[in-house]
Amino acid sequence: MTSRSLAWLPPAGICLLLGLPLLWLVGSALAVHGDILDTLRTLATPAPTAIDRLLLYYAWWPRFVMALLAGAGLAVAGVLMQQVLRNPLASPTTLGVASGANLALMASTLLAPGLLAIGREWIALAGGGAAVGLTFLLSWRRGLAPTVIVLAGLVVNLYLGALSTVLLLFHHESLNRLLIWSAGSLVQNGWDDVAMLWPRLLFAMLTAMALLRPLRLLELDDANMRSLGVPLKYLRLAGLGLAVALTGSIVSVIGVIGFIGLAAPNIIALAGGRTLVQRLFWSPLLGALLLALTDQLLQRVGGDYLATLVPTGAITSLLGAPLLLWLIPRLRMTGNRPRDTTPLAGYRHLDLKATSWLPFLLASIVVVALLLGQGVDGWYWLNPTQWPFIEGRLNRLLAAASSGVMLAVSGTVLQRLSANPMASPEVLGISGGSAIAVILGIYLLPAPSSPMLAGVGTLGACLTLGLLLALTRRRDYAPGQLLLAGVAIGALFNAVSSIILVSGDPRTQQVLAWITGSTYYATPSQALLLSALACLATLLACRFNHWLDILPLGGGIAQAIGIDVKLARLSLLLLVAAMTASATLIVGPLSFIGLLAPHLARMLGFTRALHHLLGAALLGALLMIVADWLGRQLLFPNEIPAGTAASLIGGAYFMLRLRRL
């Protein structure tokens, strides 16, 4: 690794550093129950009678052992994935295992509760396996290339997350119990789960040892390996399969524990554990210590004061995301980046006549969305004189369309600026950062009004963007690093929202309705303001269009032509932050529109910056209007919020595209 920031501290030192406070915490926790030797002896007494001993035997010890086992298992899975994908930022949660397991459990709770009696473990494993299968399928054409897999995993995660959200919106009360599990609670009440997990962990370790030699070869590059006759696909499949099975069984027992699988191997690597053997030996140890320490601290701090349970998994994500952000500039990204898709997709030159149908399509969809709807007696067309109905729909339409425009323009600017076809406000986590700020605003401000929240959201977006730039500056804003910073911020957002959701408070449904991005609350003045902002921001972006034509060619060329590159980048990025924040307030953090619209526009032949911006803006508006309208009609009188509907539509399309990437 390029940075030696931890090289003064060998892996053993780090483990000792974490182990000592853990020992102290464990010792003092046990001391409450009496003599330490005596409490250790309870482990050997299978049927204790005193209540104190019972608690130790059935709750405290299994929880402690489970934390150690799960931490170790996740770290092993992390080492395997990082080795196989040659990507230091691959981890058990990135491939979609957890979100697949989550969705499968939710669906079976609602549709076939009988299945749950057979075994949650199997449902979770099947769901996680299917999700990973999907991730593999999407990246199969590229020979399971590392970055493509991570990207596919990210999209699968977002997509399955959106589906789970739809279920959660309509069945919050009955799915609440699943949220406790999925947020990663380590509470135990017996040795069953430990008994189930340790043989699997042992098996995984042994298999990893057996695969050591071929796995080490994976450090070579693809061409070299092929010439050595290594069956790349199958080796990757075996390594990943092992990691996924291990993750699956851990997730099915204790839910999603974020970041241990990512952090442990990377810390070991930074501390000088460079060979695979070293990492395979030290990482599980460190993972076990990390999780057990977090859990012990949480029990010590949270136990007595909170009426609700704070799941350890959510806390590890909360602590892990900053760690990941810190790691990003220190890591070396190998493996191929997603190719710029320009030649592949066969983009054609713009023929303005050929795209003249776009405004017409937009206009007719606006008419349909304003006039067609469902009511008590089913479908009907509104009479244009029924103003209150039309006014309501117009507000929502304007809000949706302007958010679509702003996301699309932001996405276009980001994609051109970073010369990275995968950049978008959602993927880079700018929306997530803005959403975290707004959630905090809702909970911490005494009387949050919309303008206040808009301000807080913009601040959040600016801070996130600043953070992203600061972190990736040293790598010249390399696409891979930017993407992964986005993953970290996304995980932070998930942790914040899952801690809020776990409480099961009936009010959380309203927070959910907001997070998922509904145009419900759009008022006439808000709709007008947003439209004005969208127009203004698009015009501004268009003013900068010649920068956007030249900047993708690289900073050097731009400088040579006489552009103040720093100024250009900074002003464009500020514009992006403001637009993303305003749009996020309406459609929530996950909509895919900022990714999708610029892509579609390029496919239709809008290649020059000005055309690209305008085409993307039109398409963004169109997609958002369609998503908003469909979301209100599909489950009438229930409503799928526009942001979620958009991510379902956009995500499906994006997965299709990714397959051809």
């Binding site: 405290w60 017996g190 017409f360 309203q510």
Partner: protein, 299 residues
């Protein structure tokens, strides 16, 4: 290149023709639903079930299936209209033109969107937004609702009826002197336990029974805890009826900690056979009292 404009023109013509066709097929007279009685909208379950007991129908609620479960199917389908989740469908409301919309304080955020549809009132005496004796709050809540819908007498009657009913139950439950621990099983490892400012707490008080949970609780009067937190409490377990998760009893039966809970060891766990909404009004309180006393009587 020469073909493309033709294609797009054709596309456009098809689109327009399709639109026209759709218009012709689907055109229907604008909605008019003046014939039916104008309902009252109640998005909160405590408000909705109390309204129904005050003799108001139809009531518009957000979700039928959960309402039916938590009210133990006490109300007729004709008394209820669904208005949509997660937020009430405004167009549907406009068509039905309700005469009044009642909101709990925690739902006040939707008020700005709904006030164009019908007059909105927020029930400030909401039992789960204030500290203090829950039973007194439940009564105040019922009275205020009665005022707000113009049926103060029906409210007084409901209060009197419920209190007499609970007094009668109190005599039946007198010989139970063991404190009770009211729990809702969330999964094999976690329960919600009701205490402090919860509806079960209020009912236990009225019945002269003791609640064993004295730990911290949230605004709705429950705490989400691991099963291990119930251990050092000497009490009899009361398990609330719940639609999910099926199969939890079996897995609990094999489960070390659960089997060793004092109440489970003694074999005196009570499982309620009727449902009630934990954040409900007097009707839920009554159903909980009935279910509890019935179960206590059975042993």
């Amino acid at each position: 290149m020469t073909i493309r404009p033709a294609v797009s023109q054709r596309l456009l013509i098809h689109l327009l023709a399709g639109l026209l066709l759709m218009t012709m097929v689907m055109i229907a007279p604008p909605p008019a639903r003046a014939s039916q009685a104008h309902p009252i909208v109640a998005l909160d379950q405590a408000i909705a079930e109390t309204l129904l007991e005050l003799g108001i129908a139809p009531v518009m609620i957000s979700q039928r299936d959960y309402f039916d479960f938590w009210t133990d199917d006490a109300y007729d389908a004709s008394q209820l209209i669904e208005v949509g989740q997660p937020l009430p469908n405004i167009e549907l409301l406009r068509q039905v033109s309700p005469r009044q919309i009642l909101l709990a304080p925690w739902q006040a955020a939707v008020a700005s969107q709904l006030d164009a549809v019908a007059p909105i009132e927020i029930v400030d005496d909401y039992p789960y937004s204030s500290e203090g004796d829950i039973w007194i709050h439940l009564l105040a809540f019922t009275r205020q609702l009665g005022q707000q819908v113009g049926r103060p007498q029906a409210a007084a009657h409901l209060i009197q009826q419920t209190e007499t009913h609970l007094d009668a139950l109190r005599n039946k439950a007198m010989d139970e002197d063991m404190p009770l621990l009211i729990v809702q099983l969330m999964d094999q490892r976690h329960v919600r336990v009701f205490g402090g400012h919860s509806l079960p707490q209020g009912v236990l008080q009225r019945l002269g029974l003791h609640n064993a949970w004295h730990g911290a609780t949230n605004q709705w009067g429950y705490a989400l805890v691991g099963i291990d937190s119930l251990f050092d409490i000497e009490a009899r377990l009361v398990v609330i009826r719940d639609p999910f998760p099926i199969g939890i009893e079996q897995s609990l039966a094999q489960n070390g900690l659960w089997r060793h809970l004092p109440s489970v060891k003694r074999g005196d766990v009570i499982t309620l056979t009727h449902a009630f909404w934990f954040a409900g009004g007097l009707p839920s309180a009554r159903r909980f009292a009935d279910a509890l006393v019935e179960a206590l009587d059975d042993d």
